[in-house]
Each structure stands twice: as structure tokens, then as C-alpha cells.
Symmetry: C2
Subunit: 358 residues, 2 copies
């Protein structure tokens, strides 16, 4: 399989390939036999084909890393979002970007992914094709490929259309040390853009807002943006994407790991007005709503302006802002100076706000 | 977290740890916030703790490989077996062994795994603990560790207790070339033991046999056995574990990839009498029933006896047998010389025989 099909039009229901004989997923597609092979050949291979995958083994043998003294970084995420398609993205794009981003948060260059599909009996194969096509587009954008895959089928009523697990691997240069326990007093905290877009866009797609918006999920691969920042500034202490639990929960993790306090300036945190309005109606705090294309950058204050400039020149960082700083008082706490001048403690998310969001 | 708890008694319902406050999985356990952290601390960390995982990042940074010129091998499998516990194993052991084995089939030494859990709301946390404890035992046996994890929760009725995806990574020495397209005319075909044990044991656990047996699944990590064979013989051409689709389907894949024919001697293929009897009653062919602890070894005929000796001295290869050979006639075909002296073509599995088997 040498030809890679592209899907120029992702919005419409039109599929560029002839549909397989079976219009729906049946249990036999998970048999490991002829029907599984048929599904691979007709739905997966046209979009995800590459020499590693096409070798047809139960493993993928990777080409060597091109960097010197590379260290291996791995990550995994299962994706269970509902609905499968939402403004700005779908479960396919999410499954690629989510894991690419987790790898990128180490400072590593993501190299490839594995993909495990759990399909529900009765799923329209056209839906699966559209999701796999979206994975191809996202993988191409991120510069990664699918090195190994697996498909299982569960009985109708024991899944929800498509669940996708991706695991990722990437190569970290020998000298780089970026992790959650590395935030240091004096550091600046930058966020790459507005908070809460993904969560509210998915909620909107479920019809739970009660009004329609033009809001789109921010789901995007961040490795390109991060590579540019890494190239421009000599030192970054921590990177993390504020997904489930939002900015507040993610910063609490870092504050705990690094045993520092994180002070935020509420007025500096970008939140779109449509997200703010939706959150007010629903009783949510946008700082706890999931993002899928934003990164928190924690670095020495003297490099903050340079990093900000680089980020704002990248399409996924146009609204980047310095939102706070690291202090040594009150280790483990995240504190918000509100627009009214008061200070409020931001705890981790308790309970569940938005299930099935990613 | 430095202490690793062990679970000496895997059969009984007794759990060595105090139960978490919530006795069942609720949606909040997938929130990414406090309840997720609670679940990690109380259920996952006690069994799976290690320095890479305990660093608490969204990625795992691996120690360097100890071999020279290592090449990275990756694999993935989602596990959806029902019931979760069956004679000889459970979904936890299966999820570790399945991916350890896929990595091992390249000739690589498995180093570690990622684990993604999709939990159904309402799952008893005691059940999850037992599964995670079993993963610990299997990982310890295989000499691998969990380098990254993820937990999602789906609403009741959109899952089936526990689905587990594992992805694996391992290191392949620079000179080794073992893959499905490498079977060569003149090679011998060895199987490490009896066929169909896993599939029939799971079916038995579902109460679908209509009689009780003492049969156990063969689910086991094969990296130790394979390492011994690799050390003893200078050349192996192909390794593959006959999981879904069984021996017949797996050999068809290899025959197709290598463009050779594979001739089998039916009387040489080990099948336990209980499996043979169950298959006769159910109308199954044991050569199409899934195994989870068996490996097909294809290697130059002159090394076959040596490999067989090594395998028979290993606890997972006691019943190893030379079952056939590779020929150049009829490329892509698998042919069985039956006990009656006739020849029968073994095709790939068509349709689905045993859903939710792995």
C-alpha cells in the first residue's frame, strides 16, 4: 500500500473511498480473521498506511532517532468523547493531538503513535472512515505516523460507537529536563491561549447549552509551537496541557509536584466571552473546563517575553499571555488575584463537571 | 511511593488493601481532578508504583536501553475479554502478557508498557483492585513496568466493567531481523504447546460448554522462553503468537507475507483432549481457537531440534513440537496433512467464532 489518500473536505458526509461491503461494524470485524483484514485494508490502510504499519506484523519496528543520545518518552490516553464529532474536531483528531501533546510536554519530539480501537457493533463504517481520515490529517500536521494498531469489537450496548486509545513515543535530547516538579520560585507562567474552548464546544455539540454558538474546540497538536519556543529560549522548567480539570487542576498538580505556590492574575487569563457566558449560565468556572490545544509554559521570568513573542507568532498561540508567577510561600497552593483585588484559592477539581469530554 | 504491595493469593476475593471510600466507580473517577487522584493513589499506585510513573507527569521518561544500537519496537492491544476472570487468568494478566508477547515476536526485549483503562460506572472497586494486582504479578514475571497510564470512566451501559489497552515498547538488538515476511523454504515450524486452551477456558468460564472442565487459559508472558531460544540458536526467521483466529489464521498471515506455503502434520499438533472434545461438541476447529501463551517459531531446519530442546525445558514450552515445514510451492497457502493421510487447505478464519475472547 503506497498511495496515501487525502481527505480535502472533512466537514461533509462525503467519503472519498468506496464503502466496504458491510455498511456496519459486526462482531466479525474483531475476529482477527478475514473480516478484520478486510476492515484494515478498506478503512485503516488507505489513510494510515506507512512502511512500519504495512509490514503487517504484530509489532512496529521504528527507524532510529536522528538526535544524539535520545531518551525514550512514552504516554497514553484513551478517548471516549461524546459526540464523536463536535465543532472544531472529532474523536480522531482528539486521539492524535492528545497523545502528541502529552509527549511534547516533556520537551521530546513526538515520533509516532499506536492506535487501539474499540468499536461498537452496529457502528456505521462511514463514521469510522471519517474518524480515521481525521486521524490522518492530524498525524500529518503533527508529523507523526501510526506505528501499530489494534481493533476490537464489542456487542451493541457495551460501548458507544468508537473509543480510541493512542499511546505515543518520542525522543528527548539528552540534556533536556522539563517536568512538573521543576517549577521554581521567580518563574513566569504563560498560557498559550483562551481557556475552556474545548469543553464548552463539546457541550454545545451535545445541545446542552440551550443556545447555539460559533465556538470551536481548540483541539490541535502543539509540538510545532513547543519546538519553536524550545529553540528560542535557553531554559524551560515545566510544560503541561490543561486538559481534564482545566487550568486550575493542572496548576495544582504542578504546585504540588514542585512544592511551590502559583499566583495567577485573573484579568490576564484569556477567556472568550462566549465561554464566559456559557459558564455563567451553567454554573461552571472556565478555569476548570478542559482544553485540548493549549499549553502552560513555566520558565525563568527573563525569558518570558521572548517566549510570548514566539508563541503569538504561531497559529496556536495568538492569544498567549503571561498569567502569573511562581512563589515559594504556601507550597502546593494555586492562588488567584481576582479582578476585584481579592485573593481566592483555586483547588483541584472536586467531583465531575463535564463527563465524556475527551 | 516506594513500597510495592504483592498479592500472594490471586484466587480468592480477599483484597490486601483497605478499600477506597467509594466502593464503586463513579463518573468523578474519570474527571482528572481529586477523585481521579484518589483512585490512582489507592488502587493503581500500590500495585504499579515505580519511579517513572511516580514522577506524576503526563509522560513517562524511560531509562536508556542497556544494549548497543537498540532499535525501538512498539505494539498495542485493547483487551475486552468477558468474563473479566477466567480459569488461569483475568483481563489484567491478559493485558500485560498480550502486549509483552507482541513485542517479543520481533525478537526484542520488552521494556515497559503503557496502560489505558476504560471503566464502566458502577464497577466494584474491589474488582478493579484485583485486576490491577494481577497486572503487577504478570508485569513482575515478565520483567516489565508500567511507564504511563490513563483512566477514563464511561456511563453505565456504555462499557462492560473494564476494558484495558496496553501499548508496549522494547529494544531490538541492531543485527536481529525476525518478522512475518521472513519464513523461508526449508524452515521448520515449531509450536510451543497445545492449541486452543485460552479460547475454550474463557468459553467454559461463560458457562457455554454445558460441562465443567479443569482446563485453564495458557495466558503467559513468553519473553523469557523466547530469550532462551534466541540465545541458543543462531538464526530465527519468524515468531508469532497464534491469538485471535488461532494457529490456522496466524500461519496464513505468515504464508501470505513470506509468499511461501506452510505444510502442517495434523498428528504432530498438540491439542488437549478436553479442548478437542469441547470443539467437537461446539463445532469448532481447535486450530482456529485463540491462544494467549503460545508461540510459533519458524527457523532453519538444522536448528529445530536444539530450539525444541530449549523450549521443552521451559515451563511455557513443555509440550513444544515440530509441526510442519515451509515449502515454496503454492505461495500463501497453509496445508494440513490429516491423520487420515489426506491434505486439507487451512484458510484464514472467516466470520467470528468466539467474540470477546481477548
Amino acid at each position: 500500500m503506497t498511495e496515501i489518500h487525502t481527505l480535502p473536505e472533512m466537514e461533509g458526509p462525503v467519503c472519498p473511498l468506496p464503502l466496504p461491503h458491510n455498511e456496519q461494524i459486526v462482531m466479525g470485524h474483531g475476529s482477527g480473521g478475514l473480516m478484520t483484514r478486510d476492515l484494515i485494508n478498506k478503512v485503516f490502510a488507505p489513510f494510515l498506511s506507512n512502511p512500519v504499519l504495512d509490514a503487517g506484523n504484530d509489532f512496529g519496528l521504528l527507524p532510529p532517532s536522528q538526535i544524539s543520545n535520545p531518551r525514550l518518552v512514552v504516554s497514553t490516553d484513551s478517548h471516549i468523547v461524546t459526540p464523536l464529532f463536535f465543532p472544531g474536531g472529532d474523536i480522531g483528531r482528539l486521539s492524535v493531538c492528545g497523545t502528541v501533546n502529552d509527549i511534547s510536554m516533556s520537551g521530546a519530539a513526538p515520533a509516532g503513535l499506536t492506535a487501539g480501537f474499540i468499536l461498537e457493533e452496529g457502528l456505521a463504517i462511514q463514521v469510522l472512515q471519517k474518524v480515521v481520515a481525521s486521524m490522518q490529517v492530524a498525524a500529518k500536521e503533527a508529523g507523526v505516523f501510526i506505528a501499530a494498531g489494534d481493533t476490537k469489537v464489542v456487542n451493541k450496548g457495551q460501548g458507544d460507537g468508537i473509543y480510541i486509545n493512542t499511546a505515543g513515543f518520542g525522543w528527548l535530547p539528552g540534556s533536556r529536563s522539563i517536568h512538573g516538579a521543576n517549577a521554581q520560585p521567580g518563574d513566569a507562567v504563560i498560557i498559550s491561549g483562551s481557556m475552556g474552548d474545548h469543553g464548552i464546544a463539546v457541550l454545545s455539540a451535545r445541545g446542552e447549552l440551550g443556545f447555539s454558538t460559533s465556538l470551536e474546540s481548540d483541539v490541535a497538536p502543539l509540538n510545532g509551537l513547543i519546538a519553536q519556543v524550545l529553540a528560542a529560549v535557553p531554559e524551560i522548567h515545566a510544560l503541561r496541557d490543561p486538559t481534564r480539570g482545566g487550568l486550575a487542576t493542572t496548576l495544582n498538580e504542578i504546585a504540588g509536584q514542585s512544592q511551590v505556590s502559583i499566583w495567577l492574575d485573573e484579568s490576564a487569563i484569556p477567556v472568550k466571552s462566549v465561554v464566559r457566558n456559557a459558564c455563567e449560565i451553567l454554573g461552571f468556572d472556565p478555569l476548570y473546563v478542559a482544553n485540548e490545544g493549549k499549553v502552560i509554559v513555566i520558565l525563568p521570568a527573563q525569558y518570558a517575553e521572548k517566549a510570548l513573542e514566539i508563541m503569538r507568532n504561531h497559529k496556536y498561540g495568538r492569544e498567549a499571555a503571561i498569567i502569573g508567577k511562581i512563589e515559594k510561600d504556601e507550597p502546593g497552593a494555586v492562588l488567584l488575584r481576582t479582578s476585584y483585588g481579592s485573593t481566592r484559592i483555586l483547588d483541584m477539581l472536586a467531583g465531575e463537571m463535564l463527563p465524556r469530554i475527551c
